[in-house]
């Protein structure tokens, strides 16, 4: 009994720790005051400001656009890469996989400056190209990592069977292989999106001068002290928190059961 109470208490405490900053921001997004801690009555003023602020809207759009582009490209490249690695000889596959691991275990700042060095040498520094490539370097290895186990689980005979039955290799690839590893591709895609949305450091080192994502904008706002003078950012954070939490809860509550039987056991 004591243990149970202790466990619950611990869980509650940690959850409190995790959610209190978020709650604070959400609560104070409903009052029109410049600083947190100063309650000036309930109002939606900040949300109004937020949606009228063309700059923040542009940044929101940038962030989403970048995440989608990076995720799509990374998923295509990574899926193809994973299939390629999987069917290559060990001598080829091993080094490829090792190199593919580098961005995963590397500190983000090192990846970022390595790309900055490269692009400054080839004069593509701080263009959309360097930005997208930066995000792809961040995301693609994770796509490979999520597709790989699905490839290993796949029954190798089905592909051969399809060919024997007259399918072209393309058909076999798209009708047999892709559907079997599809859950891996999807999770790689989702992971890419979250990685890209979350990223600050690589973006900061590869982005074009006048381009901002939420991360760079908010960090610069802290740096320049405009954070509290742009209280609309609070409304933005609150919205993002709530949207993400609701989306994830719905996604998980709905999709959890089938996935548990289908792909729950990865290895």
């Amino acid at each position: 009994m004591v243990r149970k109470i202790l466990s619950i208490a611990l869980c509650v405490l940690v959850l409190l720790f995790i959610y209190s900053p978020i709650l604070l921001l959400v609560v104070y997004s409903f009052t029109d005051s410049t600083i947190i801690g100063q309650w000036k009555g309930f109002s939606f003023a900040l949300y109004g400001q937020l949606f009228r602020d063309a700059k923040i809207m542009q940044i929101l759009f940038n962030t989403i656009w970048l995440a989608l582009a990076a995720a799509v490209l990374s998923t295509v490249l990574g899926t193809a890469g994973a299939i390629g690695i999987f069917y290559s000889k060990r001598k080829v596959a091993r080094p490829l996989q090792a190199v593919s691991q580098i961005p995963v275990i590397n500190a983000e700042i090192v990846t970022a400056i390595s790309l900055a060095l490269l692009f400054s040498v080839v004069l593509l520094y701080r263009t959309y190209f360097s930005l997208i490539v930066g995000h792809m370097v961040l995301c693609t290895p994770f796509v490979v990592l999520s597709v790989m186990p699905k490839l290993k689980q796949m029954d190798p005979n089905t592909y051969e069977a399809a060919l024997d039955l007259g399918a072209s290799p393309t058909q076999a690839l798209f009708k047999i292989v892709i559907p079997q590893i599809f859950s891996g591709i999807v999770s790689g895609f989702m992971l890419s999106i979250t990685l890209s949305l979350d990223d600050y450091i690589i973006t900061a080192f590869t982005k074009p001068k006048m381009f901002d994502t939420i991360s760079t904008y908010v960090y610069n706002a802290v740096k320049n002290g405009t954070n509290s003078s742009t209280p609309a950012l609070r409304a933005l954070s609150a919205l993002i928190f709530v949207v993400m939490i609701v989306a994830l809860l719905i996604f998980n509550l709905r999709a959890r059961k089938p996935s548990k039987t289908a792909g729950g056991n990865q290895k």
Binding site: C11, I36, V99, K223
Partner: protein, 270 residues
């Protein structure tokens, strides 16, 4: 047969090229920059950066301080995350997945936003500006806790109950069962959690800048400064190489090269 394999293998070529261009070459560039110096506009081979790093009080103390902050943050993460993961994994609740979800949800919310929120909270309770080290450690724990909970939960969940039963049947009390069976068996999760937390805690300067009012310099920040303010890419590259060496060592130590990081990043929850 031969031809078919050939075609599927070819699919890896774009990725191989991509890796060569955007991972291998950049890394080589870092290596190149680290061991060169620009003198009068010409790039020459030089060991000066290397020597400078190990003779500079500032850099060594930054290294030491980052290391300390990272170790403390990792230890605290582990101390908080282990019981939580244990409770969740051992509980017989039907909805424990939802509960787990609650703990690792913040992973999907932009970390800059979360850290700014934390900054506001720390400001409100009066810690901001007075307790810089404490704030940074709180920030690191706050940011990386989910990455510790998830791998621990995954290993503890998979743990076969019969081992524990066998251990207690053989006369082990609860403490010995835990120290001799449960904990050793959960080691892969511990190691994977530590690698997920330790390295970012040494380098994620957004956290340290935001929560210490730029008072604390960690290794990642130092690299950033050499690139953006001190304008010495050679030294910045040198520090990166040293950081890479530390990563390499810790990987070797933890055997983390074969970790499934996509799992720790929570891919399987999507």
């Amino acid at each position: 047969m031969e031809k078919i394999h050939f075609s599927r293998k070819q699919l890896g070529i774009p990725y191989a090229l991509f890796l060569a261009l955007f991972v291998v070459i950049p890394m080589l560039l870092i290596l190149f920059y680290a061991f060169t110096a620009t003198v009068d506009g010409k790039i020459t081979f030089s060991f000066a950066n290397f020597l400078n790093f190990f003779t500079s009080t500032a850099k060594l103390s930054t290294l030491l301080m980052s290391f300390t902050i990272a170790i403390i943050s990792t230890a605290i993460c582990l101390l908080i995350a282990y019981p939580i993961a244990y409770i969740l994994a051992r509980s017989r609740l039907k909805k424990k997945n939802v509960l787990l979800m609650l703990f690792i949800l913040p992973m999907w919310i932009n970390f800059v936003l979360r850290i700014t929120a934390l900054r506001e909270l720390l400001d409100l309770i009066g810690l901001l500006g007075s307790q810089n080290y404490l704030n940074v450690i709180i920030g690191m724990v706050y940011d990386f806790l989910p990455f510790m909970i998830l791998p621990l939960y995954t290993t503890l969940e998979k743990l076969d109950n019969s081992y524990l039963e066998a251990a207690s049947d053989l006369g082990g009390n609860k403490l010995t069962v835990f120290t001799k069976v449960t904990f050793p068996l959960s080691m892969p999760g511990v190691v994977s959690g530590i690698t997920m937390v330790f390295m970012p805690s040494m380098t994620n300067y957004v956290v340290s800048d935001t929560l210490s009012n730029f008072n604390i310099t960690i290794l990642g920040k130092l690299i950033d400064e050499y690139f953006t303010t001190y304008d010495n890419w050679h030294m910045g590259s040198m520090i990166s190489i040293i950081l890479l060496f530390i990563i390499f060592l810790s990987m070797l130590f933890s055997g983390g090269f074969k970790e499934n990081k996509q799992e720790t990043r929570g891919a399987n929850l999507w």
